[in-house]
Symmetry: C2
Subunit: 632 residues, 2 copies
């Protein structure tokens, strides 16, 4: 009999989706294991750009600093080249990419996949988790017992796992009973196939080659993200680590398709072939790679497969296992990581018994919408990108203006800062007017405030780490004597056992589940942070001030930027949306309590199935939902 | 016979001065050993503030990031408290400390000494160097043989070192023959005494206690640097790591002086005693420490000893071994580190044979002046700080305005950004007008430029690491067609074997000794960095542009800020001052060469003694001297 074991969460696959999930769960102290069939981690691998919003997400786990240090910044300048009168390319414009004006990090990071994964693996190790490899699942069974499925303490998923490096039959197989399984096992996902999940999607016809090279060239935008539409095909330049540059090169059927089979023949995409195609595209610029032509390193087919896959109540699919798309917009790794960033905190909340398990349904709801948006974007972008340029002879071609417009329209989406979950049962923009510029359904805006006790500038996002807790931001306005009195009354109310903060804290300690931060209006010359009632000031670091720092160069205008009226008291909750009342409105606690009743289980695990509609009020992906109101 | 060995540099003492020296030498690949008599490193120890300029210095070794992460920022707000009408203290003002407007890091870092030292020890380890301990010198002899002293390959200093943990006589003693010895062995320096160096100085009468505590108080400025003048004595508040606060508390003779001996009795300075004194000072604010009164951790005598000590040609004294002073301005660790930061690169240059050994004489010249300034400052500041406050009854007391004026006057000095080596044989401000705002004798200003190839914002200081090389900054102005032509001619000239850049590179490779960086005027929309001649563009990362980044929020106005005319070609050299000619002036190379001839040995080690006056042109402490000119 093979050995049997139990674990709360079993993750299959240690690619970007898998390690983001594993690290988040390990940091949350959740019981988790992760297996991968590859004997060692990717040494280099395909690189992807890490987009501005994904950097913010990594920062919420404390991982952005290393990423930024090790990677190359693409400063979101984009240069465009199109055919000139002589048919050879010339610069049509160099445009600062201002389509993500709210980005905390106004750049992308390019870094090879091995280095990015190392950041996560090191962090996991610090939290006591390592990838078990080479192991792969060979059988998966989900219990059909309704009682078992609805019990929080049951392990209804049975996965048989094989060690690929086992030296004897005895140690080869292990049976793992899991509460939840995450299938992050890539585009050819075994989990997906084993569950018989059907793909939806289509394949596009564009074929792309990828070439990493150290160029020696007189092309002046070789260190900028550059889009070239030439009469010899299209090309995108992405600067990478050190002196390396990545090129996405459009290929024609005759370049790579085997005329006998009609299929792409990967053997035809040698580095030399790609180099020779790119040389034609770059004319009139010279294009020798440094030290001859040894630059070509990797190629990949650009065939595109689009699919969106539903997950199941106990088994979730994430990353490439549920959607693939073309690499040119640099979304691949970002989409995968943000899938499990969305999923992991929900799993932790449910496993801690803080939240009803139906919260997990929001994972599919949110990420399916995103994947669909991504695929739509990809389709349109790929078509514009691959289209012939507009020239005197070809008036139907893609003009520079047309491409630029699309590029800028999609900028918010590609940067990740504009990702927006639309109104639904769990995104209720009813009270949007209370903080007009904190768009409900989007991520929390970065903003520098100063810490009231020591006037140190602090980025608000750094106070909203991915630590599973709900963040309650109190904006009390100016700390006038009258306002301080009102805050005292509010604190008194919220300290009562009947208050939602107390009721849903389980252990009676508010800070276990809720992180309260107070952001006052006022000036650093005369603020006294001790005037904020202790209840809203659990530690001296938790009181911020909407003013500039001592150099006058950082911070200030936060209320204005968020659209919050300093004459009111406003509550904003990050990571879960809710409605809060003005402190003077009698029914505020009823409403607050009402909403939290749906989100949080008042006692540990109140039963597995709460129907979909009453769970609808939580849908934020670690800061993706912000909702506030007053005067309800 | 005890074993004998040789080393280029032997450092005695692993305090702040010793480890700064050891790390700098290890990073430069210099043959170095460091010994310390303590069996283990300081676990916690007295903290000092790391001042803004010292953070810049640490950054030049790549160490500031960790320091900032681990330490506490004091954001250079200063609050002042003085007696009110009722005799109890009240806030007189809260003043942003704007006396260091050019600081790259507009804050101090407080962190306990053990943690600061760990940053250096880890870096040393990465470069293959560890402190040997517990070991102490017992005998030192300097050869009196003139030939030996003047030979670069000789080891004229013989140090007998004892292992304090030796288990037998045989392994107890080692004889180390060194080219140079650095005595960084503290206020009671054995090296200093062994060489019979006489102290100059005086002792002041102010007695201070130091208390580290975790307070629970309603004093609103407990997390700010605060100066309190009360009728019960003076006190300075320095926020530290976590919730800890350090208090410097003025004590009266009756508090601590033993009436029998007339000496300070350290036993009288218990934490309880200090707490009780501070309670009186803080009235009317309450002052219980958290969890009772367990906060008191350490005390120290504030007796102040002032001394300045000359070093010798082969043996140098640094840090507390050559100057001590009162702790209140937080200069101690900064002064020590900047001593050996000044010394280490000179040692490396001389040992590499790049520079004449007489360069080392500038160490004493520069640091003696600084130590004298520090002591003068300390004396005046201590007297104002310890003086009774001015009140209705005591009109001779120190007024708030008087103290504030002194505080602000000395701000540039205490921050380190204003440290200024005055005109002398080696500081020649003759050509100051070529870059009016880069003050000759001060450190290089921080300034953000964008990298021309990829419009990434770069802090100029980050391109000037402490890597022993001379930094040659070329400011070519706008890259017009005419200017590009002129640059071509200049590059041609400087590429000739007779050019100083070639002549002093020893191996013919300019970049071994000189790091060339080009900073053009122009706009990111139309710059083509490839127009800069290859000679001034050894790598694509070496061309900067004086423009804002893509967000428009960083960079720009560098020429204006430095006082450089973009219509001219200007050369600025950091780490060594020199005169460079406008490219059109015929005698520029003569002058350039003339000056470098004095600084750099054209062949390896041209003889030990070059007289003082002809070496005078190098005196920068890793960026402390900047000089440029045109039209000479």
């Amino acid at each position: 009999m093979p050995p049997e074991s139990r674990v709360d969460v079993l993750i299959v696959g240690a690619g970007p989706a898998g390690i983001m999930c594993a690290n988040a769960l390990a940091m949350a102290g959740t019981d988790v294991r992760i297996i991968d069939k590859r004997p060692i981690k990717v040494a280099a691998g395909q690189a992807d750009g890490i987009q501005p919003r994904t950097i913010e997400v990594l920062q919420s786990y404390g991982l952005a600093e290393r990423l930024i240090r090790e990677g190359t910044r693409c400063t979101r300048v984009c240069a465009f080249y199109n055919p000139g009168r002589d048919g050879r390319i010339e610069c049509t414009g160099r445009v600062p990419d201002v389509t993500a004006p709210t980005a905390r990090y106004p750049f992308e990071i390019t870094l090879h996949q091995g280095a990015i994964e190392a950041i996560f693996l090191d962090s996991m190790k610090e939290h006591g988790l390592q990838v078990e490899r080479p192991r792969q699942p060979v059988e998966i069974q989900i219990s059909e017992d309704v009682d078992e499925l609805s019990s929080p303490s049951s392990y209804p998923v049975k996965v048989t796992v094989e060690r690929l490096d086992a030296i004897d039959e005895e140690s080869k197989t292990e049976i793992i009973h899991a509460k939840f399984v995450v299938g992050a096992d890539g585009a050819h996902s075994w989990i997906r196939k084993a569950l018989g999940i059907v793909m939806e999607g289509e394949q596009t016809d564009y074929i792309w080659g990828v070439l990493d090279t150290v160029p020696e060239t007189n092309f002046p935008d070789i260190r900028n993200r550059t889009v070239i539409h030439s009469e010899n095909g299209s090309c995108m330049v992405i600067p990478r680590e050190g002196d390396t540059v990545r090129l996405y090169i459009q290929l024609s059927d005759k370049d790579v398709v085997d005329p006998l089979t009609g299929r792409v023949d990967k053997n035809k995409m040698s580095p030399q072939k790609l180099l020779s195609v790119s040389k034609k595209i770059f004319q009139p610029y010279n294009w020798p790679t440094r030290k001859g032509s040894s630059g070509g390193q990797s190629t990949s087919s650009g065939s595109v497969l689009h699919l969106v896959i539903p997950s199941r109540d106990r088994v979730f699919i994430a990353g490439d296992a549920c959607h693939t798309h073309s690499p040119k917009a640099g979304q691949g790794m970002n989409a995968s990581m943000n899938d499990t960033h969305n999923l992991a905190w929900k799993l932790s909340q449910v496993l801690r018994g803080w939240t009803s398990p139906s919260l997990l349904k929001t994972y599919e709801h949110e990420r399916r919408k995103y994947a669909q948006d991504l695929i739509n974007f990809d389709k349109e972008f790929a078509s514009l990108f691959s289209g012939k340029p507009r020239t005197a002879e070809n008036e139907d071609g893609v003009s520079h203006e047309e491409f630029l417009r699309a590029f800028q329209t999609f900028g918010g989406f590609t940067s990740g800062t504009g990702v927006h979950y639309l109104p639904s049962a769990i995104v209720d923009p009813k009270h949007q007017q209370c903080a007009e510029k904190l768009v409900i359904g989007q991520r929390m805006l970065p903003q520098i405030f100063v810490r009231a006790a020591d006037i140190r500038p602090m980025e608000l996002q750094d106070l909203l780490p991915s630590d599973v807790r709900f963040k309650v931001l109190l904006f009390p306005g100016y700390l006038t004597k009258a306002r301080v009195g009102e805050l005292g009354l509010l604190a008194e109310e919220l300290s009562k056992p009947s208050s939602f903060l107390k009721k849903y804290s389980h252990d009676g300690n508010v800070s276990t589940v809720f992180d309260i931060i107070t952001i006052a209006a006022g000036s650093k010359e005369d603020i006294n942070y001790l005037h904020v009632p202790q209840f809203f000031r659990p530690h001296w670091t938790k009181v911020l001030l909407d003013d500039t720092d001592v150099t006058g160069s950082k911070g200030g205008h936060g209320y204005e930027r968020f659209g919050i009226d300093p004459k009111q008291i406003t509550l904003v909750v990050v990571r879960t949306g809710w409605i809060c009342g003005d402190h003077r409105s009698l029914d505020r606690h009823w409403r607050l309590g009402q909403l939290f009743r749906f989100i949080l289980a008042p006692s540990r695990w109140s039963g597995f199935l709460i129907s979909w509609w009453c769970m609808v009020d939580d849908r934020s992906a670690q800061g993706y939902l912000v909702r506030s109101c007053r005067k309800v």
